[in-house]
Symmetry: C2
Subunit: 293 residues, 2 copies
Amino acid sequence: MKAEGTMETRVSGLRKEVIISHNRQTIMIGERINPTGKKKLAQVLKSGDLRFIVEEAHAQIIEGADILDVNVGIPEIDEAALLTETIELLMSEVDAPLCFDSVNPVALEAALKAYRGKPLINSVSGEEKSMKTILPLVKEYNTAVIALPMDEKGIPQSTEKRMEISYKIVEQAGLLGIPAEDIIIDCLALSVATDSKAGLVALETTRRIRDDLGLNVTVGASNISFGMPERQVIDAGFLSLAVLSGLTCPIVDPGKMGPAILAADLLLGRDRYGSRYLKNHRLRKKSGKSTEV
Amino acid sequence: MKAEGTMETRVSGLRKEVIISHNRQTIMIGERINPTGKKKLAQVLKSGDLRFIVEEAHAQIIEGADILDVNVGIPEIDEAALLTETIELLMSEVDAPLCFDSVNPVALEAALKAYRGKPLINSVSGEEKSMKTILPLVKEYNTAVIALPMDEKGIPQSTEKRMEISYKIVEQAGLLGIPAEDIIIDCLALSVATDSKAGLVALETTRRIRDDLGLNVTVGASNISFGMPERQVIDAGFLSLAVLSGLTCPIVDPGKMGPAILAADLLLGRDRYGSRYLKNHRLRKKSGKSTEV
């Protein structure tokens, strides 16, 4: 299979469509609505007082997020109810399309029923069980989906094996009638602290997904620097390199990584007159978030 | 002309050789010994008390510089005498090879006579006058040289024209018996604030110099962000992208851009166990220069 060019993934909220494509500016998926390792957000989700989540949503959009990832996975809660409530609240507050970050099919389906627009599901993997539970939801509710090129044996170290699993997921999705362009591959960045080739493999996977499959590519950048000092330098460098290699929609903290991503687009000639970079700078400066010294 | 692989440029000080190559770690040329826009350094050079220059040399090496650029060009001085004195002082203080940053052939020749090792000359251009005065010095004193792909008409906006001038300089040098591997091309980064394609053209030139000529590539990164806010973000992003495209020996302030360059090498699998990145971090931390918060 050789892609005949690159594909467009369209996702939408009630009032806004976002097009992800290799020929356009990089789309940022804001990662901050996620309680993993964040005490305050975990507490907020337990208490049911979701105002802080709305604040985080607005802040991320000011910082440049185009899509918001929503993860409410904490122990001992009714994820279906909480995810649905959060999604409904966010739909009423922001225009940006949402990305449902859960592997719980019951929670996903409840939230999908409540959503108006075409969301992104994060994520399906190459494991049989995952494909069997997630892909039918992608089809039934007409969503886009992030696919992790890993399977029952874990995350492959080689680009070749990651490509093989990516092809498998695309094929399985195709059998259900899901178009390839609705699948976004996560290039899976592991830590360079434990494997010196981790960066290279993630970049090579990104390039191959673009060149061979024509699909959009995402990544959660911060794994790459796990265990290293001055992590933001490594994360920003990785995102720049990945954008050049074919990354189109990273999942990031836009407050930290927004400038690096917008700079990469600027340097690659995708930001005429630097207008997006400058607008983002002004907005962050106004809210006291510029890195300018 | 198609290169049969990539070439090695060797430069040396009295006690240290540095090999620049596409197959090795990125070499940093420290830019801070240059009075342009720096009041203190200009004053130091006028007064003749050069201790601050020695301090800057040591500091840049701690921060990761492999080669030191030396520019003493201020008005109303005897550049030949001052460049020679500075070069002699630095040779006695540091092992790193030096890069003579001057277009004054008299100053260059005086300094070349005093130098022991194989230095780098910064720079020759495609202008007839420049080639006629600089290339014979490169040949006679067996140096390496940075070549700017610009000519009497200024800096070309197109990659094609920059390649044409690069070929011309390599050819002219060849006629004098200067081997191609002693020529390092500057990809010439102009500001993205005035030309949205400036980054793309510099990156494309870098890639073509590597792929078509097999030569090493340098750049003075900070022009790229001239006129934009949060310049370090743009400079660091540009360096990452350029390293992936074939940049092998940027001229930078290692205190500001060192981490980004070492991170790029780390991400491209050129820094086993991250040992260079970690060592640099420790050294900077010890001298209070880490960006860690």
